[in-house]
Symmetry: D2
Amino acid sequence: MKHNEGLTIRTDLAIEAKDLFSDYDHSTKDKTISMSGLKVHHVWVDEAAAETLNKRKGHYITIETNAIKKNDPDQKQNTSHVLKEVLQQLLGEKGISQDSQCLVVGLGNNYVTPDALGPSVISKLLITNHLFEYHPEYIEDHQRPVAAISPGVMGVTGIETSDVIKGVVNEMKPDFLLAIDALASRSVERVYSTIQLSDAGINPGSGIGNKRKELSEDVYGIPVISIGVPTVVDAVTITSDTIDFVFKHFGREFSEKDQPKSRLAPAQISIGEKNLTESDLPEEHTRKELFGMIGGLEEDEKRQLIQEVLTPLGHNLMVTPKEVDAYIHELSKVISDGINQALHEQSSD
Amino acid sequence: MKHNEGLTIRTDLAIEAKDLFSDYDHSTKDKTISMSGLKVHHVWVDEAAAETLNKRKGHYITIETNAIKKNDPDQKQNTSHVLKEVLQQLLGEKGISQDSQCLVVGLGNNYVTPDALGPSVISKLLITNHLFEYHPEYIEDHQRPVAAISPGVMGVTGIETSDVIKGVVNEMKPDFLLAIDALASRSVERVYSTIQLSDAGINPGSGIGNKRKELSEDVYGIPVISIGVPTVVDAVTITSDTIDFVFKHFGREFSEKDQPKSRLAPAQISIGEKNLTESDLPEEHTRKELFGMIGGLEEDEKRQLIQEVLTPLGHNLMVTPKEVDAYIHELSKVISDGINQALHEQSSD
Amino acid sequence: MKHNEGLTIRTDLAIEAKDLFSDYDHSTKDKTISMSGLKVHHVWVDEAAAETLNKRKGHYITIETNAIKKNDPDQKQNTSHVLKEVLQQLLGEKGISQDSQCLVVGLGNNYVTPDALGPSVISKLLITNHLFEYHPEYIEDHQRPVAAISPGVMGVTGIETSDVIKGVVNEMKPDFLLAIDALASRSVERVYSTIQLSDAGINPGSGIGNKRKELSEDVYGIPVISIGVPTVVDAVTITSDTIDFVFKHFGREFSEKDQPKSRLAPAQISIGEKNLTESDLPEEHTRKELFGMIGGLEEDEKRQLIQEVLTPLGHNLMVTPKEVDAYIHELSKVISDGINQALHEQSSD
Amino acid sequence: MKHNEGLTIRTDLAIEAKDLFSDYDHSTKDKTISMSGLKVHHVWVDEAAAETLNKRKGHYITIETNAIKKNDPDQKQNTSHVLKEVLQQLLGEKGISQDSQCLVVGLGNNYVTPDALGPSVISKLLITNHLFEYHPEYIEDHQRPVAAISPGVMGVTGIETSDVIKGVVNEMKPDFLLAIDALASRSVERVYSTIQLSDAGINPGSGIGNKRKELSEDVYGIPVISIGVPTVVDAVTITSDTIDFVFKHFGREFSEKDQPKSRLAPAQISIGEKNLTESDLPEEHTRKELFGMIGGLEEDEKRQLIQEVLTPLGHNLMVTPKEVDAYIHELSKVISDGINQALHEQSSD
C-alpha cells in the first residue's frame, strides 16, 4: 500500500498507525503472543519508524479483550492479570525497581463520562505514598510508595495538563510516572477492547485533534509509562470501517463462488480477527464494481474523502457506545486491579 | 421512491418514517411553520398512513433546534417557549382543560446517561399534586395538579413499564398522561436537535428493536401525550447518512460543472436543511459511477444491506455523542422548563 | 421506668421503643442470640404491646454489626450471611415458599444520599421476574421471580408512595413484598449499625414525623417484609445520648470509689453494649448532683425538654455522618448481597 | 470569661475563636456592618491576638446568610453579591490589580459530599487563563486570567495538598491564590450559613484535627485569599450548643418572672443573634440548679468534658445535615456566582 504523502495519520494506537503503512517492516518489529487466552501485540517503533508512523519511539504493547463488551467476570480477571504481567515487564525493561516511587496520573475530564477513565481508575488505586511518611506501620513488605493525581483538562483548569503534572513532579520527585488516559480509536472494534501500554510518552487529546504539551521522559526527566484505552470513535471511522466490512462480506461471497468452502462465512468472523489485510479485501476491480469510485480508493484516501465531506457539515461526530457509564465503570475496575497488583505485589516472574 | 415491501421501517420519529415513502401524500397532511425562529413540522398520520408508515394514528409535531449542540442560552429559552406553545396547543386539541390532573412519566434508565432523559426531566418538574390535597394554601391560581414517576425499564425492574404505569394510573386516576422518553434516530442530524410531541401513544424501546407493551389511550383510557428526543443513533445510520452526504457533495460538484454557480457550495449547506429529497441526489447513473452497486440501491435497501453485514459481526453499535452528560443535562432543563410553563402557566393565546 | 402518658414515642426501631417502657415484659417476648459473631435480637410485639409501644404487631429482628463503620470486609460478608439467614427464617414463618414471586420496593429519595438506601439496594439486586416470562432458558433451578421498583417519595412524585406500590401490586400480583428503607434512629450508636427486619409493615417517613399511608399486609393483601437501617439521627438524640454517656461515665467513677474494681472502665465499654439499663445509671441523687434538675428527669422527659427548646429555634437538625456517601454505598452492597442469597439460593437449613 | 490554659482552641472560624476569650479586645478590632440585608463581621487578628486565638494574623470577614437553609432565591442572589463586594475589597486591600492572574484552588474530596464544596465551586467557574494564550479573541475587556485546580486530599492522592499546589504555582506563576474549602464549625447554627473570607492562609483539615502543611503567602510567595463555609459539626458541639440553648431558655424564663416582659420569648429568638454572651446566660447559681456540676462549668471546660466522654466510646461523630446533597449544590452555585462576578466584572466601587 502506497502512502499518500499529504495525509496526517492521526491515531492514539500504534497498532493502528503501523497498519496504515506498507513500508513498515512487520517481520522484524512485531510480535503477537497469547497470554491467559488474550492476544498481546508488541510493536517496537524505532527512530525511522517513528517518523513514518508519526508516533514516538518506544514500545507499544496492546492487549485485546472482550471482557468489557461481554461483561464477562472471568475475562475481566484475566485481563487484569495480563495487564499486571505486561506492566511489570515494561517496568523491568525500564529498570524500575520494586521499591521505586510511582506517581499515577489520571488524565481526562471526570465530568465527561467517556473521558473519565483516568480519574475513575485513580479513585480505585491503593495509595500508599503518605503512609510511608506518616504511618510506616501500615506498610506491608511488597508495597511501594504510590501517589495519584487527576490534573483535569485544560478546558476546565485553564492550565496545560503537562504543566500541572510537571509542577507536582518537581515537588514530589517520584521515580516514574504512570499515566492513564481514554483514547480515540480509528477502529470501531477497538473501542473498549484494546488496552495499550507504552513507554513512549503521550500527547493528551492528540487523538481528537487537539495539540497539547506532551507528557514524556524528555519533559519530566523520569520514565513515563502510559496505559490507554479507546473509548470514542468518529463518524469517519464508523463509515470507513463499515464500507470495509461490506467489501469483505462481498469479497468472501465472490471467492466462495469459485472456490471450495474453505473459509468462514461472514457471520462467523471472530471479533479478534477483524484487522483487514490486503488479502481479505476483494480485488480492486471487484471493489469498484461494488462501490464505484469510492471502492477504488485506498484506505486513507477514503477516510480523507469522508472527512472532507462530513467536517464542514458539522457531522463528524465523536461518539461512544450508549453503554458508556457501565463500560467506564467496569473498565476502570479491571485496569485499577491490574495496576494495584503490578505496583504492590511481588513479580510473578 | 418505491417501497421495498420486505423491510420494516423502524424509527421513533414520524417525520423520518414518512420521508421513506413515496406514496405518502405530503401535500395535504404536512405543515411546516416557523415559531420564534425554530422550524416546527406537523405531520398528521391518519388510519391509511398509519399502516403504511408503521406508526400509530395521530398528530406528530417536531421542533428543530440547535440549542443543545450549540450550547446557546437564547436558543434554549426559545426552545422551551416553543415547546410550551406546541404542548399547550396539543392539550387544547385533546380537550384537556387548564385544571385537569396530569401524571408525567419519565421513561428510561437513570443509570444509562443517554437513556436518562425522562428521569432527568422528572427531577426538574414543579410537582403540585400532593399540595392540592395536603397544603392547598401553597397552590397558586394558575397551577394544576401535577404528579410524576420514573417507572424504570424492564431490564432493571423485571416488570413491563406499561404495567407499572397502568397500576399507578388506576390508583391515582389522573386526567391525562405526559410521557418523556429518549429515542433512537435514523438520522445523525436529528440527535439532540429534534423534539417530537405526539398524541399517538408510544412503544418504549421500539426504536432499538425491543418489543414492549404500548403506552396509549387504548391501554389507559386517558389521553397520552409524549415528548421524545433522539439521543442515540446506530452505525447503520451513520454510514448510510455519510454515503448520502458524499452523494450530495459529488452531485453538486457534477451539476456545478454544467451549470452556472447557482447553488451553495457543499461547505455552506446549513444544518437545518439536510433532509435529502430526490432532487438533491445525483442521477442514478452518477451515483453508480461514484458508489457502484451500492450507489444504485434505494435508501432502505442500502440500510438493509449495511445492517445485514454489521449485525452478525456485532458491529451495529448504538452510539451517542461523547458530550452525552452535558447534552442530557441541558436538554432536560430545556424540556422541563417548557413543560412547567405549559402545565402551570396561563396560555399565551 | 414510668411512662409519661403525654409523650409520643417516635422511633422506627422496635428495639428502641420497647426499651422506653418499664411495663414491657422482656422475659417472655425478647430473645437475643449470636449468629456468625453478630448479636441478633428478636422482639415479638403482640396486640397488647403494640398499643403500649405505638408499634405494629409482629416480629422485629435486629442485627447488630460494625461492618460499615469499621469498613471491615469479613464483617460485611458475615452481615450479608446473617441477613440471609434471618430473612429466610422470616419468609419461612410467613409460609412463603421457595418459588413464590417477590416484589422488592426500594423506598426513599435517590437524590438525598442518606435517604437513598432503598434505591441503591434495588440497583444491585438480581432481577429475574421478566426472564421467567421472556427468557426462561436463563433461569436457574434455585431462582425465583424477583421484580423491583423505586417508587420515589411523595415530595418528589406528588403521589402517596403507598398508592404507587398498591397500583403496581394490583397489576403484577406478586406473592409478597420486601421493602427496603432508610430509618431515623433514637440512638447515635445504631446509625449504620443496626439492620431491622420485620413482618409488621411500615409507615414511610414516620421516624422523621411525616404521616404517610402505611405499607402493610392489611393494605396489599400479601405479606410485607421490611428491612430498615437507621441512617440519620436528630440533635435531640445526640444531646440526650451524650448526657447519658456523661452520667454513665460519672456513675462508674462514683461506684468505683466505693467498690472493688469489678467493672470495665468507661473507655473499655464495647459499642455493642451501650443500651443503658437502670442499673448502669447512677442513683437519682447523684444524677441531680451532676446535672441538676435535668439529671432528675426521666429519659423521655429529658428528650421532650430538649426538643421543646430546639424545635422553635430551628435547631433540631436531622444529621448523618459525614462519610454518608461511602456508608450508603457499602451498606447497600451488604444488604443486596444478603437479599440475593436469601431469595435465589437454597436455604442452608 | 477566664481562659482554661490546658485547652486547645480548635475551630476554622476566627469569629468563633475570638468569642472564646475574655481578654480579646473587641472594642478596637471588631466591626459588624450590614450589606444588602446581610450581617458582615470583620475581625482583625494582629500578632498578639494571633497567639491568643491560635489563629493566623490577618483579616477574617464572615458573611451570615440563611439563603441555603431557607432555599431562598433572592437571598442567594444577595449573598453572591455581598461575597463579590467583600472579595473585591479584600483584593483591593492586598493591592491585587484588576488584570492580575488568579489560580483558584478547590480544596476537599469530591467523593465525600460534605467535603466537596471546593471541587464543586471550581466546576462552575468561568475559566479564562488558557484563552488569554490560545484564543485572546474570546476575551472580553473586564476579564482577567483565571485558572482552577482541585488538588484532592492527601488520603486519596498520597501527596500533601500544599505540595501539589506549590508545584502548580511554581509552573504557572499566578499573581494570587484563591482557595475554597469546606470547614468544621463549633456552632450548629453556622453550618451552611457562614461564609468566611480571609487573607491569613489556611491549614487544610485543621478543623477536624488533622495537621497538614499550610497554604499561605509564606509558603507560596503570593497572596492567598481563602473562602470557607462550615459544612460539618461534631457531637460535642451539638450537645454543648443544646445545653446552652436550654440555659438560655430557662434563663429567660427566670428573668421573665421578676421583670417586665421586655425581652423576646425564646421561640422568637432570631437565628442571627444566637451567639450567647455572658449576660444572656442565667447566673451561675441558677445554671447549677438546672444542670448541677455541668452547669457550673465554663464553655470550654464543658466541651472538654463532653469530648473526654465521647471520644473513647467512638461517639464523637462528625455529622452534616441530611440535606447535604442539595446544600452543597446550592452553596457552590452561590459562591461561584460571587467569585465569577468579583474576578471578571468591574468593581462596583
